[in-house]
Amino acid sequence: MRKIVIGGRGLVEGYGGGELLVSPEPISFYGGVDPLTGVVREPNHPLEGKSIAGKILVFPRGKGSTVGSYVLLSLKDRGKAPAGIVNIRSEPIIIVGCVLAEVPLMDRPDKNPLEVLKSGMWGRITVQGRKARLEVIP
């Protein structure tokens, strides 16, 4: 199987590698993710019970309370932040959280990641300026 390369818009600079965790549903960080452990605890969420710590987290966009930005910061403080985030379209909760927690963030991927990516694949995200790239191996 060939490596998958997805380009996109760089929003927060940095790089990181890790296992992919893909959610077809938006994520609410406040209330939806445990700020101490990084485990998704929103009832009936596709990622319920899974930890986002160290993962490259792929989901359409953020939702819910804007205090969610501080949850990303809390995860960073405890070494439980995701290694990188890929959104279809980022909104301010995720952008502010990623700037404060220094988590690389990209959006507007040139292929639909929800169709071509699966949890359990391994990836590396690189964001330099406006350019972003996600390289994924099975």
């Binding site: 818009r9 700020p35 205090v67 930005s69 501080y70 980022s90 301010p92 952008i95 959280g97 404060l100």
Partner: protein
């Protein structure tokens, strides 16, 4: 995106690390939203104040930002905290929580924010008409845009704080006149009498938020004598059930697409809690205004102590405008708290399990916190408290 020389300099650190970080956040958001530039704001209102919500990391972040010497560049106010700053012991708050909450307030004050601790800044703040502002707290955002002719997007708590520090916000969406024109008509005319007689403002608002997902609805058929209190109850409900940023109130028709609302059953079916008359009554989501406090005090003067426990939440500033009313309420056994509200405080610590509210916003958030919630209509308040 275009940045002025001054903005570039702040971003590069000319005013220090705190300002640079704040500018970085604002610029990143502006870029993502494809704003052509930033615009100066004249006021900011910040949410995310309760220690219960922002936690240890939020507290540390605010303290380090304050330590960096950053300060709000514009007048700015803050949302309710997790406790009454004076009567927290009576609320069952632990000493540990209280100390953390006071540290949050101290950091925010050091950042130059006025500790108003209310979600109704529009009642007490003096802000020029048609000003660009940066408000978080959805009920305040809807009120600002729809009633006060202020210009703001739904900024979110941490973002509004950064915007307050740099005195600027991304120039997009509802900051531009063109995007504030009505896009859809919500025709409530056939319900006009019911809305007025049964005080269905919260219920109708919640329904509108569910139905209209985007744009600016023009609401036709609301009673022309709708009070400030009723307006704020309705707008808070609209802000809770959806992501709308503003509405327009009108009486004239136009050629826009139209949604007709004529069935009360549909409206009640969408509510976040069922109508009920059991439980501890909690009032003040949004914070009760001086006018509402005085109407409540009139009831209390006439009928005395209510037959059940009633907890009232309002702004400390209300004390200046309605001191007599507040005295009467306290004398008649109403539990009055300032600086906090039923959504961000810990009602469980106050011994509440089953709660009865007239606010669709409160009903929604208290349900998500696991409370047994019932709704009552504002027009039934005398019956709920005394019959």
């Amino acid at each position: 995106m275009h940045l002025t020389r001054e903005e570039e300099a702040i971003l590069a650190g000319s005013m220090g690390d705190g300002y640079a970080k704040a500018m970085k956040v604002v610029v990143k958001v502006a870029e993502a939203l494809e704003a052509p530039r930033l615009i100066r704001i004249e006021h900011a209102h910040i949410s995310g104040i309760s220690y219960k919500n922002i936690g240890e990391s939020g507290l540390k972040f605010l303290e380090s930002l304050a330590e960096s010497g950053a300060k709000a560049s514009v007048p700015a106010t803050i949302n309710p905290a997790g406790m009454d700053l004076e009567k927290w012991r009576r609320m069952g708050i632990s000493e540990e929580f209280a100390l953390k909450q006071l540290r949050v307030i101290r950091a925010l004050t050091k950042l130059g924010l006025k500790p108003t601790l209310t979600c109704t800044p529009y009642l007490y703040e003096k802000i020029p008409r048609r000003a660009q502002v940066a408000w978080a707290e959805s009920n305040a955002v809807l009120y600002a845009n729809s009633i006060c002719e202020l210009y703001t997007n739904r900024e979110g708590g941490p973002l509004a704080l950064m915007e307050a520090i740099v005195g600027r916000a991304p120039y997009v969406d509802y900051r531009i006149d063109e995007n504030r024109k009505p896009t859809v008509i919500v025709d409530l005319r056939s319900l006009k009498r019911d809305i007025r007689q049964r005080s269905l403002y919260a219920a109708v608002g919640y329904f509108i938020g569910r139905m209209v997902k985007e744009g600016v609805p023009l609401l036709l058929g609301l009673p022309p004598d709708m009070t400030l209190a009723e307006t704020k109850l309705m707008l808070a409900a609209i802000g809770t059930s959806g992501s709308l940023t503003m509405v327009r109130l009108g009486d004239s028709d136009s050629g826009l697409p139209r949604v007709r609302v004529s069935n009360l059953q549909d409206i009640f079916a969408e509510l976040p809690a069922a109508l009920s008359d059991e439980g501890v009554v909690a009032l003040g989501c949004p914070h009760l205004s001086p006018g509402e406090l005085s109407r409540l005090a009139n009831l209390a003067s006439k009928y005395g102590k209510p037959k059940r426990r009633v907890i009232v939440f309002t702004a400390r500033a209300a004390k200046r405008y309605a001191p007599k009313a507040l005295e009467i309420l306290v004398r008649q056994g109403f539990e009055v708290y300032y600086d906090t509200c039923m959504v961000v405080a810990d009602l469980k610590a106050m011994g509440v399990d089953e709660v009865l509210v007239d606010s669709a916003k409160a009903a929604y958030y208290l349900s998500t916190q696991g409370f047994n919630v019932g709704l009552f209509l504002r027009s039934d308040i005398k019956r709920i408290l005394y019959d």
